[in-house]
């Protein structure tokens, strides 16, 4: 179900390199998008309302085509415009699209949001079990003994995405508290680019442990109990800000952004919106306050320092 972001905690040198890389890609993509818009937007606008584009991180919900269809239908109904859902393989790609304004809004993770806080503006935050909060889980094989999360030292570990808060940053921060970094702590680690894939990797034995979105794991427990049944929670993190919906700061007051924001915040008020929320197992969306992600920002800082 939902994409969550993840943010900092990379070594500073590497991070800078990555940022410069992202910037150049962003600029490049923005340029390309601008050219495309110039070439195509004018005749389209004359006939139909301009389409809205909404980016989704490839964590949970992208695997459910029925959900995507229903979400698109709901947004189109509420905004009275065509809506294009944009999905990509990595968080990084979606983050780049939203930061560069290539999509009108995107459901990103708290980690990228913290990283690009200056360039992004919060539109809404999902409410799960009454709060806009979720946890990150460290999971292991169901038959694995031991309650101390430190037993995973020397494992092959499955991360979700290097830009995921729950699927990377929280574990990296946990290790950082112990003065360790993933590369030294784990024998080997890999990214599955999807929280569901982390559960699959641990359930199959490909990885002995994994870092996964707690919200995703709980929803999977309902929908795929056979898969989650082969794993168990070794450690649950503090409650953290739920992955938010954000837009480029420059388009925060734009008409299109407003339409999307209203649609999201009013989702629980219509039956089609409630059916989307039912599929997402969410209570609704709420206006976000920036301080919600401060704890994530602290983890980013901790990881950065340790590295």
């Amino acid at each position: 179900m939902s994409g969550k972001g993840m943010c900092d905690s990379l070594p500073s040198g590497e991070r800078q390199q990555r940022e410069s890389l992202r910037l150049s890609r962003r600029q490049c993509l923005a340029g390309m998008a601008g050219l495309t818009a110039t070439a195509m937007a004018t005749p389209l606008r004359a006939q139909t309302p301009e389409a809205l584009s909404f980016g989704l991180t490839p964590v949970f919900l992208t695997s459910n085509l029925a959900l995507l269809e229903r979400l698109q239908t709901y947004l189109e109904e509420m905004t009275d415009r065509p809506v294009r859902l944009v999905t990509r393989r990595t968080y990084q790609e979606i983050t780049s699209l939203v930061v560069s304004g290539q999509v009108d809004a995107a459901w990103i993770c708290g980690y990228p949001y913290v990283q690009y806080r200056d360039s992004l503006s919060l539109m809404a935050v999902p409410v799960w079990r009454g709060r806009p909060l979720y946890q990150s889980y460290l999971i292991a094989d169901a038959n694995r003994s031991g309650d101390d999360w430190r037993v995973i030292e020397g494992d092959i570990h499955a991360f979700s995405d290097p830009d995921s808060n729950s699927g990377y940053l929280v574990t990296a921060a946990l290790l950082a508290e112990e003065g360790k970094i993933p590369d030294g702590f784990f024998r080997n680690s890999f990214y599955t680019y999807g929280h569901r894939n982390v559960v699959r990797a641990v359930a199959s034995g490909l990885a002995q442990s994994g870092s996964v979105d707690g919200y995703v794991w709980e929803v999977m427990k309902e929908m795929e109990p056979e898969l989650t049944g082969r794993t168990r929670i070794l450690h649950a993190s503090d409650w953290l800000g739920f992955p938010p919906i954000a837009c480029a700061r420059e388009s925060a007051g734009a008409r299109k952004t407003q339409l999307l924001q209203n649609a999201l915040l009013g989702m629980e008020d219509s039956s089609s919106g409630r059916s989307v929320l039912e599929m997402l197992r969410l209570d609704g969306f709420t206006s976000a306050r920036d301080g919600l992600f401060d704890s994530i920002a602290r983890k980013v800082e901790l990881v950065r320092r340790t590295a």
């Binding site: 499955a158 024998r187 080997n188 890999f190 599955t192 990797a201 199959s204 034995g205 490909l206």
Partner: protein, 486 residues
Amino acid sequence: MKRALATIRAWPITVKIPLLVAVLMVVVSAVISERVLSRLGDTQSRHLQELGNAYLDGLSSSLMPAVLRNDVWEVYDTIDRARGRYRGLEPVDTIVTDPEGGVLAASDPRRFPTGSSLSEGYLGEFPASGELRADDGQKRAFLQRDLVYQDRRIGTAYATFNTQSLLAERREVFLTLLATNTVITFALALLGYLAISRMVRPLRILSEHLHQGAAGNVQPITDTQTAAGSETQHLFKAYNDMASAMREREALAHRLAEEKRLASLGRLASGMAHEINNPLGGLFNSLDTLKRHGDTPSVRNTSIDLLERGLVGIRDVVRAALVNYRTGGEARPLQPVDMEDLQVLIKPELTHRSLALTWSSDIDSELPVNAGAVRQILLNLLLNACAASPPGSVVALATRTSENALTLTIDDSGPGLPQEARRFLTSEDERQDTPPEAGARLGLWLVRRLGREIQAEFSVTESELGGTRISLKIPYSDREEQRHVA
């Protein structure tokens, strides 16, 4: 082995032919089944090789970028998603290793953990040639493929497939073949049995008639089912011709026997006439004496006495002849009086040839033997003995009774019975039962024939009288027969 072959040879043809058909069918079925299963196995192997190649080829192209990046998850995800997408193929394990042989990812990471090395034994299962190797014992097939990128081997993909369904298919084909061939074999064997039974039916009929004929009941074959002009009909016709010839010969034999009996009767009749004639002169003299001197009591009594004795003698002769030649009489037990009759009957021949008869009989009661046959046999043997003995010599007859048989012995003083005649009398050969040519040894033939009827055993030895001794031992009839006879 020889005994077994001999036993098989003794089996009826109606069993041997169907059995042969069954054995041939089993051999043919075995050969065909072996070929079919062999071809099926080849086809399955080829099919499996093609499917395996398609699987690994498809997988390789998807794996290549992930292997290049050492992306454990992508490799696993690719393998995991490919599972079950190839119809007719059941991959058990798929393993991808890096160029050093370390496992990158496997379909079953618990058995083949990432970073581990495959054992030599396991690697040995995969032919280096890239050919698929099927192991029926393990119910697995093994195939490996190098992942080559820009002429460099960047890894290897190993796949094992479950061949259980193929083996099951082969087993199913085998069972189908077995069942079909068994049904066909039994059907052909049954058909063979029915066909052969029908084909040998004429032979069986002929065999039954031949057996009946051997037992003395020669009957023509009256078969209406045989097709006209067939070999069987020719065979039956030949048999029927033979049967009618035999029946004619049998009738001839009966006629000859009758004639012989009548001939004996003729000889005896002349003797009897003589026997009757002899006292007739005395009787007429007595009558004449009575006519003339009947008044004298002493003469009358003497004459009447003479007449009575003469008539009694004639009566005895006539009675004996009547008993001996009474036709259509049933078999009855031998009585002492029968022996006395024989003495009367042979007496004219003795007198005619000037022979003496030594008679020794211990028969003092009824005996369970056929009286008619015994009388015929003895009369013929005595007549033969008389004919063989020189005038003035002795002919002897002795009887001896025991618990279960009557033994009769006839001695003569003749030159002895010819060897050929001895053999004829004592031979067990049934062919000797046919009547002799041109009436030769007709008397002996009649004796032999009657002797066989009453199961008498003949023996011919030298007699103390210088001639021949013929003995015959006649077993008593059983109680049932005795009662019937009585």
